[in-house]
């Protein structure tokens, strides 16, 4: 396979030399990212001794385009993987390379590709470097716009797992129809798009005791109906029985359904969503666990917070084995010059979300059929997993000063969300103030004050941040996170870090030093635990 790529790349390169007269030019661009950290042991915060002292991750991406061809390679190096990145990444190589031909109607890819069917509930392959996540498929993909309004795609391959490929084969196909674009003569109000997809995996059964299905299929259907101020999106997915390590080798089917209705007017937006997930953990290896070899993507219906105390202490992580969730989000901009809006206007964002378990009626069949339970489609269980009620108000106070305040009320079941036992639940209130002061054209100061109030788990936190920026070229910040409410006296620690960075258009260099609190970084549906550390961190990103 790799030979093929090299040859193709060589071919592309030689094409360039001979093909200039056609008016096409070869263009090469890319990006790099380098992260390194120097670790010091710090027993107080539980930062372990790192024998290598310095660990680093590096990624380099190169893409060449020539006419209808695009080819790319990515080099990755984990020497060794930073703490919190899966240690199985240790090593270096080219885990990603592809060649694509596209003439607008027809797209053909060989090598690695990222793909998504619908919203991803039966298949999504993607990359997130900050999480150390990449489940690209290595294989062949064909996409085609068959007639106006109809697009189909199909693919086959194996998924990436660290520097290797999945034991299971993955095959998939999808069709999407924009009903209004068809020459059908049918007139429907609004714009309607419907789609259907199917994915199947094949993995040999080598289990000595259980008869496992070697082919496991999943199908999904979706629609998106849009009117000028109304948008309705719905999707349903079904997965055949798929006994795996994560579902305790149960033979029940999987199911997920999702509906969102949003309504918009000038300066007003509202979206209401509901979702059911039942036994939808779907992987290219029935023995895989953690953030490895996921075929599908189940996004959480909760708000993704960015402020430190709101985003990294108690973030929700989707429960693929079963959950019922709902979310309401409202955005409103009070107009400039109105009584409440003030001279510059005021922006309000309200978000309410909740997650419970699904109702399960146990079948007690573990030694016979191993289905496990029955669950009615609309059956909401009694166990609360998560609640998040939050409001954010932001307002420009003058030409120089902007402020926003945020309040959250959280409920978080530690055992369920982190997969632990007897850690209990947490109820917390969080308040955040964020003020930006443009001292002059080039000098900008920003302040953040945050507090998390709770009597459970680690107790209450306070956080302060002062940041200075010189234009967009340079910044420096000091952050202190103080666990003052910890019931263990010597754990009432100040986590103080110094941070600075330089931005040169497309090159960023960032450096931080000090004590980093253990936390959970979540992007989309995937979360990663970042252990506590003490040391110096440097990160360089650049694109060209």
């Amino acid at each position: 396979m790799r030979y093929l790529f090299s040859i193709l790349l060589l071919f592309a390169a030689s094409q360039f030399t001979f093909g200039q007269s056609e008016g096409n030019t070869l263009q090469i661009h890319g990006d790099i990212q380098f992260d390194a950290q120097y670790y010091r042991a710090d027993s107080l915060i539980g930062a372990p001794e790192v024998p290598e002292k310095i660990l680093s991750n590096a990624v380099g991406n190169f893409i060449a385009t020539y006419g209808n061809f695009t080819a790319g390679v990515r080099y990755e190096s984990y020497l060794g993987p930073l703490q919190g990145i899966d240690p199985r990444y240790r090593g270096s190589g080219f885990p990603y390379r592809f060649v694509t031909y596209s003439d607008g109607r027809f797209t053909f890819t060989i090598g690695n590709f990222y793909e998504q069917i619908g919203s991803g509930i039966i298949l999504r392959t993607y990359e997130d470097r900050n999480l150390g996540f990449d489940n690209s498929i290595d294989g062949v993909r064909l996409k085609m716009n068959v007639i106006k309004g109809v697009a189909v795609k199909g693919f086959v391959g194996r998924q990436r797992t660290f520097f290797d490929l999945s034991p299971a084969l993955i095959r998939g196909a999808d069709v999407e129809v924009t009903v209004n674009d068809l020459d059908s003569g049918i007139n429907i109000p609004g714009q309607l798009i419907i789609g259907a997809g199917a994915v199947s995996k094949f993995q040999r059964d080598e289990d000595p005791s259980l008869i496992l299905p070697e082919n496991v299929g999943a199908v999904s259907g979706r629609f998106n109906w849009v009117f000028p101020s109304l948008n309705i999106y719905g999707e349903y997915a079904y997965k055949a029985n798929d006994p795996s390590l994560t579902n305790n080798f149960r033979y029940n089917r999987g199911e997920s359904a999702f509906l969102t209705i949003s309504y918009t007017k000038k300066r007003f937006g509202l979206s209401v969503s509901g979702k059911r997930v039942d036994n939808m953990d779907f992987r290219a290896d029935r023995n895989a666990v953690g953030n490895n070899l996921n075929i599908n993507y189940l996004p959480a219906l909760t708000k993704q917070h960015t402020y430190a105390l709101a985003g990294t202490i108690y973030p929700y992580a989707i429960q693929p084995l079963g959950e019922m969730s709902g979310q309401i989000e409202l955005t409103y901009n009070l107009p400039k010059g109105s009584a409440l809006g003030g001279k510059y206007g005021t922006s309000i964002l309200v978000n309410l979300s909740g997650v419970n378990n699904i109702q399960r009626n146990s079948l007690n069949d573990d030694s016979t059929t191993r289905i496990g339970y029955e669950s009615p489609f609309f059956g909401i269980g009694k166990q609360k997993y998560f609640r998040d009620y939050n409001i954010e108000i932001s307002r420009k106070l003058s030409d120089k000063v902007k402020a926003s305040v945020t309040y959250l009320h959280l409920f978080y079941d530690i055992d369920v969300i982190r997969g632990l036992s007897s850690q209990g639940t947490v109820t917390a209130d969080i308040a955040i103030a964020d003020v930006t002061w443009k001292v002059s054209k080039k000098h900008i100061l920003r302040f953040e004050g945050q507090t998390l109030q709770t009597k459970q788990d680690l107790g209450s936190w306070a956080m302060g941040l002062i940041e200075y920026s010189f234009g967009s070229k340079f910044y420096a910040a000091i952050i202190d996170q103080y666990n003052y409410g910890n019931s263990v006296a010597d754990q009432q620690i100040h986590y103080i870090t110094g941070n600075f960075g330089v931005n040169l258009n497309t090159t960023n260099i960032r450096c931080s030093f000090g004590r980093q609190r253990a936390g959970i970084v979540c992007v989309g549906g995937v979360c990663r635990n970042v252990p506590a550390s003490n040391g110096v961190q440097i990160s360089i990103t650049s694109s060209f």
Binding site: R2, G30, Q33, E115, S119, T264, T331, S347, S542, S543
Partner: protein
């Protein structure tokens, strides 16, 4: 051996591109979605020969939102003076992409907003982090780009937009 071949191929491609240094970089072709869920190809984007700003952002990215709010205050004037169009590409995935439309309407933004749910365009344009802004000339060629945002740096961007609108050459390091 295999890797060696690969590197050789890359080196070859590189050496051949050296001669082409001055060639303008076109907006790459990728599929993105409108807020109505319709798939379009980026090769169809244009602004009738006027400059274009492409801003990569996400609903969870504070500096991105600050930048788009600050430009929104001046956008009408920017358009009047230069005819510039801002295309905001949301890289929110399925978790948040459904909330982008209400969010944008709630903010009252007049930008052309598209969804890059699985980050195909983001990858094709080698965007590491958001916010990342590209400035394109009337031929949809990338003439300048910048990653990260600080309060007030939209004024610098507008200076460059004016130059591009007037047909002046600008350097990538400006």
């Amino acid at each position: 051996m295999k890797n060696l071949l690969l590197i050789l191929a890359l080196a070859l491609t590189f050496s051949s591109v050296q001669a082409q240094e001055k060639a303008a970089r076109k907006l790459p072709a990728a599929e993105i979605k409108t807020l109505d869920g319709k798939v379009i190809n980026t090769s169809t984007l244009n602004n009738n020969g006027k400059p274009v700003i492409i801003s990569f952002w996400a609903t969870w990215c504070k500096p991105c939102i600050t930048e788009l709010i600050n430009i929104a205050d001046k956008y009408e004037q920017w358009q009047k003076e230069t005819g510039v169009k801002l295309i905001a590409i949301s890289i929110d995935d399925a978790r948040n992409s459904i909330k982008v439309s209400p969010f944008v309407k709630g903010k009252g933004w007049d930008y052309d907003v598209y969804l890059d749910q699985n980050q195909d365009l983001k990858r094709a344009m080698n965007v590491n982090n958001v916010p990342h802004v590209f400035l394109l000339n009337g031929n949809m060629e990338i003439v300048w780009q910048h990653n990260s945002y600080a309060e007030g740096s939209e004024d610098h961007l507008f200076e460059l937009v004016k130059k591009v609108a007037a047909g002046e050459q600008i350097s990538a390091t400006e």
